[in-house]
Symmetry: C2
Subunit: 220 residues, 2 copies
Amino acid sequence: MRPPIDLSLYLVTDEAQCRSRGRTTRETVLAAVDGGATCVQLRAKGTDGGSFLAEVLDIAEAVGRRVPVIVNDRVDVLLAARELGAPVAGVHLGQSDLPVSVVRRLIGEEALIGLSAATPAQLRAAEGGGACDYVGIGTVRATRTKTNAPAGLGVDGVGALAALTALPAVAIGGIAIDDLPGLRAAGLEGAAVVSAICLAEDPRDAAARLREAWEGGGPA
Amino acid sequence: MRPPIDLSLYLVTDEAQCRSRGRTTRETVLAAVDGGATCVQLRAKGTDGGSFLAEVLDIAEAVGRRVPVIVNDRVDVLLAARELGAPVAGVHLGQSDLPVSVVRRLIGEEALIGLSAATPAQLRAAEGGGACDYVGIGTVRATRTKTNAPAGLGVDGVGALAALTALPAVAIGGIAIDDLPGLRAAGLEGAAVVSAICLAEDPRDAAARLREAWEGGGPA
């Protein structure tokens, strides 16, 4: 079966944001893991499969034995990376991606599946069949990372949704460091961040401060 | 091993073109197969995996036992459709998609792999390892279907490339009915068309005339 996943500080990559700070995605991920990120989701919407696979192989080799590396959406990229021996942990699916039940049959019992959910019905569906390992609940605050994301649910809204599911839940969407104590108090198992690390001046330092805030030290 | 594939009249779908004629992709494919299309590649760049899988399932159920249904790019969609019992025949890959050698390991020996190739080096690579079942050579004529396609090679240029490979070759890219006799004489095993069917007033009739032209009757 799957190993447990520490969702505490879950980095979701955004290549354009990293590039706007003069860094590669790989550099950003390495710095964030050094700083304390506990897992990494590689996301490359609009990128061809070959380029995405190359990035997944490269970054998984760099950090995949330290923290779980999760592939966004492209189950075939996960399968190809695994076939080539890279330490990839699983796949994260959105509501409009391939269905969780079929993906579980394709990737077997050893790999993780995360699912984005934003409503009680989606959370109930995520629990069905036992195929899903965690849910990503959001958006916490309105964000520009995903143009099709719903308006922000707020810390309280995300917490209320998290209370509806027995699955480990990570909050996502426009999360700032000041949100972390509230999210943890509301029962979330972690916070997923994009711009708080990818757009940070120093992603290692940003990850360290976010992790500290999550662990209870509070923002500096 | 894989069954042989009749590449003679190879329809590649374009949803926007079908819609511009007031038809669904499914309606267009059914009409084209009724008219004589010998295989169908479903292409849905920019569509989410879930929607693309639904389309593949729907169209494969409708025509997949009459002609081979090939999935463009998304190996995971092929695998999911197969897992769900749909009669899908294989996948078509571009040069920037997942590598053929890895895809063969993921999909096994029963499914077809086609690869787009536009240069002698790409054709040589396609033959390596024996994983590829056919190549798509183009662009024959400059086309607006793919904005990143190279300038047209012409019938002679495509024929010269086809002569370099032992793999079955289908020409693609801006092909009109008058090109078919020349392409066949140049050693191609078939012609892949998009707009000649998707934008046709009557896709069944268009397919029938294209097939007749390919078989040697020449254009009406």
